[in-house]
């Protein structure tokens, strides 16, 4: 009688173990696929481009799609400084970029035409220009919880050909599950901006 009970228990336990293993593998597959598709969707890199040849860049004023009037200027400043601080590329000072844009007659800074990019390349003596959009900057609410979020996308355009050689986007901050559970205002906007910019720079290099 006792032996029968033990055998039955063992069978149930074995079935449970098999089910758990199948579920675990299934979850792992879902996670891995999700990560893979995410990576591919949020970045483009020209496979034929030698990124080592880009030594000087100009960060153009970013388009601002947020309600914060200085969001684009702030993000651009952090981006230009962080990019310069990598030591990998020389970033043209903002005053010189402003002069170049004025001389080249660029109207839409965030999406210059191929001719305008080529012209800028000549005036500023840069190998590439960086354009982009700040999509979100500031506080977002979810129920009674608020947190800062920064969302932006960038493009690197080669000045010789006017071709987009790299593009990526990122979103950092926002209301996390932790914030929802325990409250709190999230990170300051400046820290979120820095994280977002560093994420893009990591993707670039």
């Amino acid at each position: 009688m006792e032996n029968r009970m033990i055998r039955k228990m063992k069978t149930i336990f074995m079935k449970l173990k098999t089910n758990l293993a199948i579920m675990g593998m299934f979850t792992l597959v879902i996670f891995l696929t999700a990560c893979a598709s995410f990576r591919k969707a949020d970045m483009y890199r020209d496979p034929n481009m030698d990124f080592g040849s880009i030594k000087t860049v100009a960060v153009l004023p970013l388009a601002n799609l947020t309600r914060e009037t200085l969001a684009a200027d702030r993000v651009r400043d952090v981006l230009a400084n962080s990019l310069y601080a990598t030591g990998g590329v020389y970033v043209v000072p903002p005053g010189e970029v402003a002069r170049g844009l004025s001389r080249a007659g660029v109207i839409n800074f965030s999406s210059p035409s191929i001719e305008e990019v080529k012209k800028l390349g000549g005036i500023l003596s840069v190998d590439a220009v960086i354009t982009g959009v700040v999509k979100e900057y500031g506080e977002v609410r979810s129920g009674s919880v608020a947190a800062n979020v920064v969302s932006m996308s960038l493009q690197v355009v080669e000045t010789q050909t006017g071709k987009v050689i790299w593009a990526a986007s990122t979103t950092k901050g926002g209301v996390s599950a932790w914030d929802r559970l325990l409250g709190g205002g999230g990170e300051p906007a400046d820290d979120v901006t820095e994280r977002a910019v560093n994420d893009l720079i990591e993707k670039l290099f």
Partner: protein
């Protein structure tokens, strides 16, 4: 004090007056950069009385007014070469005291921020001393709030006294050490090109920062902040901002969005400068009343004449309560004090080995 290779100059401030029994000083009318009304006449009176009490020989009011009328001198926030030369020739003064009001807020608790500098006259004006003071009525509340100051006139007097003590110590060649309320606040991002060697001697022109903040005159205030911080290092020879301003006006240079290389080339040439320091100020916020925190955000850059490159760049963002962990201990109440520590942090990194 910095751990860098550039040597601090605080011990040398008074050496320019060595060998002189007493110097004669002209106190220029005060410039108000606060964007709000301030008791400029009272402030000037306090300065004159304080300087007289300290035994400094002052140019009389009538002679100064006569000179200003004759030369149609209206801008007193700086001194250019021509003014410095004629002032010396016509009145015999050795130096001028240029004072600026950065903040005058009389609502309880009052807050006052001042800048002052002593510039020599003659054919080549030189900054002899520069310092700033910022005080708030609630800086030291003490036990049961007994240390609170609610009278703006009393706070103004205290601020002026503190500023003049610094000047007297400098004239007496007494080392006060570098004034800093605490540990410098380091920039968030910074980078220096290897071509810039901070151990070398440089002649530096500081231009007003491009102002994107809501605060009136924040660009000029940041210029004074860097002037004060860079004066600590003897290998930086600073060009008097009045001379820089005069050249910008003479050559019709508008620094839109910062200094372009074309403008920098002109400035390098006409000012005989090795470096140009500029930047952008995004935030320079003081707060009114007892609740709130000041916030400052700026980026700074250095342009080098020889390499024609930006050799230094930094980004700083801080708030007055960044070092507060409990009971407001360590809180900074004025944007000037906060920015002074931030700029001090920038300079430490700029000259570090």
């Amino acid at each position: 004090m910095s751990t860098g290779c550039a040597r601090p100059a605080s011990t040398r401030r008074g050496e320019d007056f060595a060998g002189k029994e007493h110097i004669r000083v002209a106190v220029f009318p005060i410039i108000n950069l606060s964007g709000t009304p301030a008791p400029l006449k009272d402030l000037r009176q306090l300065l004159v009385e304080g300087l007289t009490d300290r035994g400094i020989d002052l140019l009389d009011e009538e002679t100064l007014q006569g000179y200003m009328t004759r030369h149609r001198l209206r801008y007193t926030g700086g001194i250019d070469i021509e003014t410095a030369r004629t002032l010396k020739e016509e009145t015999g003064v050795d130096a001028v005291l240029i004072t600026t009001v950065e903040l005058y807020n009389y609502t309880d608790p009052p807050k006052i921020s001042l800048w002052s500098r002593l510039v020599s006259t003659g054919s080549m004006p030189k900054i002899l001393w520069v310092d700033g003071r910022a005080m708030a009525g609630n800086d030291s509340p003490g036990l049961l709030g007994l240390g609170l100051i609610d009278d703006p006139r009393l706070l103004l007097k205290k601020t002026v006294q503190s500023l003049l003590d610094s000047l007297s110590a400098s004239l007496a060649n007494v080392d006060q050490g570098a004034r800093s309320a605490g540990k410098p606040l380091q920039p968030k991002v910074e980078y220096r090109l290897p071509v810039f060697n901070p151990a070398m001697k440089y002649r530096v022109a500081i231009v007003p920062f491009y102002d994107l903040s809501g605060r009136k005159n924040a660009g000029e205030i940041m210029e004074l902040q860097f002037l004060n911080a860079m004066k600590r290092f003897e290998n930086f020879e600073l060009i008097e901002p009045g001379i820089v301003r005069a050249k910008l006006l003479n050559y019709r240079i508008i620094l839109w969005r910062g200094v372009s290389m074309a403008n920098a080339d002109i400035l390098f040439d006409v000012l005989d400068a090795d470096l140009i320091l500029g930047g952008t100020v995004y935030k320079y916020d003081d707060y009114q009343g007892g609740y709130g925190v000041p916030a400052v955000e700026f980026s700074a850059l250095l342009l080098d004449r020889r390499s024609r490159e930006m050799v230094w760049s930094s980004k700083s963002i801080n708030k007055g309560d960044d070092r507060v962990y409990f009971f407001d201990i360590g809180k900074i109440n004025t944007a000037q004090k906060l920015a002074t520590e931030m700029v001090s942090g920038v300079m430490d990194q700029m000259v570090a080995k």
